[in-house]
Structure formats: structure tokens, C-alpha cells
Point group: C2
Chain length 128, copies 2
């Protein structure tokens, strides 16, 4: 496993454990966190921690696929969320960039939702 992939794995594990000191230790102080779907941006490690600590509901994250090269990494993970509206779950992806010290300098998350696909030719597609 590359160093970037290992850091990405620890990012998910420390987040799931709410081990905030260990989680912050992976991040550059000026880390930028972006969510393109909601056009949200959080600047800095402290704000990013507060964003996660105060996120509404009880959430859990489990890594499924981790890929890293010299400069970047991605984690495809399963999530569950329990809140006043009930239980929900799905898959999401976090992309990571790193600074020269090997700390995470940028995180970009994607949270895809279920959708109904367009009609296609008969027999082409299975549904599960």
C-alpha cells in the first residue's frame, strides 16, 4: 500500500473512531475541504474538525476501496446515517491531495444518491 493510500485509510478510521487528535495529525493546518455537490468549502483544520464534530445525526463510515499514487489518494466508503428522519445508507468517495510533508492539503467528497435510470433497450440492463 502506498503512503498516500495508508494515510487515506487512517483518515477514515480515525474519523469513524472520533479520534480527533489522530485525525487532525493527518491534516495540514491550512487544509481545504470541498463538497462540489452542495458547493460547500471549509478552510482550515479547526473548522473542518468542527464541521465533522457538529454534523447532525449519528454517522458511520467503512472503507471499501482505497487507491493511492505518489500524489493523490481516494477512498470509496460505505456510510450510514441515523437522525430524526430515520436511517439512511449509501456509498461515497473522498479524494485527497497531499503537501510536501505528506499531510493532507485538500479533501473533496462526493455523496451520490439513488436515482431512477432512463429506459434502455430490452435485455441490456439487469436491476438489483
Amino acid at each position: 500500500m502506498t503512503a498516500t493510500a495508508e494515510i487515506a485509510r487512517r483518515f477514515l478510521e480515525t474519523l469513524e473512531a472520533r479520534d480527533w487528535a489522530a485525525w487532525e495529525g493527518l491534516l495540514a493546518e491550512a487544509v481545504v475541504y470541498e463538497l462540489p455537490q452542495s458547493r460547500e468549502r471549509i478552510r482550515g483544520r479547526s473548522a473542518y474538525r468542527r464541521f465533522n464534530e457538529t454534523y447532525p445525526g449519528e454517522w458511520h463510515l467503512t472503507p471499501k476501496v482505497i487507491i493511492g499514487d505518489e500524489h493523490r489518494a481516494v477512498v470509496w466508503f460505505a456510510w450510514t446515517l441515523s437522525d430524526g428522519g430515520g436511517e439512511d445508507d449509501g456509498d461515497a468517495q473522498a479524494f485527497f491531495e497531499f503537501d510536501d510533508a505528506g499531510l493532507i492539503s485538500k479533501v473533496t467528497d462526493f455523496w451520490p444518491e439513488p436515482y431512477e435510470p432512463p429506459a434502455r433497450p430490452d435485455g441490456l440492463v439487469e436491476r438489483w
Copy 2:
């Protein structure tokens, strides 16, 4: 760039070029294509090609980030779609697995849509 990342790049480029012969050359005959959000599964290179050739609307794909290790790769790409309903665009991700011959044996796509985020503490989040 790793071999897997290079294949992932060529996958996107040949798809964008509708160079179906070159695109098929990257795929194992028994490739499986899955879209977890719509719970769609397509089995085999021929069906997968027909799925793409007959996809409704005029679509374009531009790679943004490509990451590969020895066994897997991911492409984060920008897409545009023009159809009877107008123009739409966004970012999506395709994850790849490879067989022992270096051909793509599995593709899993995610197509995240915009959403409105939950309210958060004042000053924590910028919107763009």
C-alpha cells in the same frame, strides 16, 4: 503514471472519441459494468458497448483526476449532457478493476447530483 492509470485515461479518451474498437480493446470480454445508484448491471463487452452507443442525448467526458495502483484505478471526470430537456453538467467517478492480462474486468460508476446541505453553525462553511 501506472499502467492502470494509463488504461483508465485511455478508457475515457476512447469513450469521448466514440472510438469503439480502441475502447473495446481495453476491456475483458466478460467485463461487468455496475451503477450502484440506479442498481443497474451490464454483463459483457458487447452489451456494455451497446449501452454506451445507445445512451440518450449527446454526452461528453473530460478527465480531471486519475489515480492508479497495481490493481485498481479511478477517474474523476467532468461530464456534459445535452438532450431534449436541455443541457446539464457535473462531475462523476469511474472505478476500475483489472484481470491478469491487464484488461478492465469491472467498472463501477458514480454520478453525484447537486443537493442542498443541512444548516450548519454560522461562519463554518463558505458556499460557491
